[in-house]
Point group: C2
Chain length 110, copies 2
């Protein structure tokens, strides 16, 4: 990416794109699903579930946290992550707005 062009797009779209980017990896989807199933989770469990090294899982967790999809604190040797309901609801609405009533009637495409 030569030269970040994000300035040229609206802030809302840049933010939304960043959130979608956080969903754009199967490991992170798996993390989110795991967090959704249990209402509490620690990183250690995830390392066992995912086919990835501990450092990589931690990195994915950070990505999710920076995107605001999860929240959590780590108290010494134990960390507690959980979903960020606010962000997820916001994303849900954004998807609704984008895909809500798709209906292509142009007839010119296959």
């Amino acid at each position: 990416m030569p030269i970040a062009k994000t300035d040229a797009f609206g802030r809302a779209d840049v933010a939304l794109a960043a959130q979608f980017k956080a969903l754009a990896h199967p490991a992170r989807l798996a993390i989110l699903r795991t967090l959704a199933e249990r209402s509490t989770c620690i990183c250690g469990d995830l390392v066992e579930v995912l086919p990835l090294a501990q450092a990589t899982v931690s990195q994915h967790l950070r990505a999710l946290k920076e995107a605001g999809l999860i929240q959590g604190e780590t108290d010494g040797p134990r960390s507690c992550y959980c979903l960020n309901a606010d962000t997820l609801r916001t994303m849900h609405k954004a998807v609704e707005a984008l895909f809500g009533d798709v209906d292509c009637s142009c007839g010119c495409c296959g």
Copy 2:
């Protein structure tokens, strides 16, 4: 990404992640919104709307097409792209399943 680890994840998640990846850029979000507004579109219009070179827009269109989010044909000097309603509906359901009823009650996180 040293060594693609996608084999280690379920096919469904790999596919879903790829679709989210297609949404993970403000230019592609803008393209989708533009396609949603008009029911028909050609690439030329997009080049004027987006702050990007023609080659880059074409590249983004290809990404969207490969992810199955849009469909279209290009007949010589004119191309017609439109949304792929099927894929968008599928994604909508996937989001529903992921975020449908988020409710963190673990009480351990801020």
